[in-house]
């Protein structure tokens, strides 16, 4: 009974990424999209949070939003997987519920 968590705002602007990380369970997935992809940039002040909070969880970034903001695919945090819109749909169907952190 796993959950897909989505975050669509920058962690520099809102606390939604931190809240999502605080409420992950093993087997859950976290997808960063829209301005949320900013949280996936390696070397950012938030990059270290994933190592402790996201153990046993899949971390995903929506590729088109990353590209639109000029962040190279090679510049995302280690372990994060890029997905396209089809992959987003696959994530929704692979989990029992979605929690869209606002």
């Amino acid at each position: 009974m796993s959950t897909l968590h989505t975050v669509n705002k920058s962690p520099f602007e809102r606390s939604s990424l931190i809240s999502a990380l605080n409420h992950l369970r093993p087997g859950d997935a976290l997808l960063m999209l829209e301005d949320g992809v900013v949280g996936a940039r390696k070397g950012s002040a938030f990059a270290g949070l994933f190592e402790s909070a996201a153990k046993g969880c899949g971390i995903y970034v929506l590729g088109p939003d990353l590209a639109a903001r000029g962040i190279a695919e090679g510049d995302v945090i280690p372990g994060a997987k890029l997905v396209d819109y089809g992959g987003f749909v696959d994530l929704v169907t692979a989990h029992q519920r979605t929690q869209a952190w606002l």
Partner: protein, 145 residues
Amino acid sequence: MAEVEAPQVDTGIKKKFMFINRKAPYGTIYALEALEVVLISAAFEQDVSLAFLDDGVYQLLKGQNTTGIGMKNFSPTYRALGDYEITKLYVEQESLDERGLNPADLMEITYEDENEDFAKKPSLRIVGRSELTEIMAQQDVLLNF
């Protein structure tokens, strides 16, 4: 004459809906809109609960007085939720702690338990972050505001 069959009544499926409140009232419309949707959802006879975390805990503070800002103080509405059989309002302990708040700062919200001779019971349930995480994982639908 053929006997008329009773129409099949669709009793519907009861799902667990949780409304998650993470924003303080009045600065944005989220808190009020969440309350509106919660009241609407009560009409559909679902298993409805609310969670208050992060700045959402400010929605439940007692002593809200909006006369100076020209907005309606909607906080008394939370106390009416029990009449709509919405009796589970989870409040995250860590969110209170981070803001220097404690449960005594919150409104008293109760419901009448029809299974126990309408005894008054508290609707607010203070839960730790990990317990709230587990409760969220038991829901069918999570709606964030």
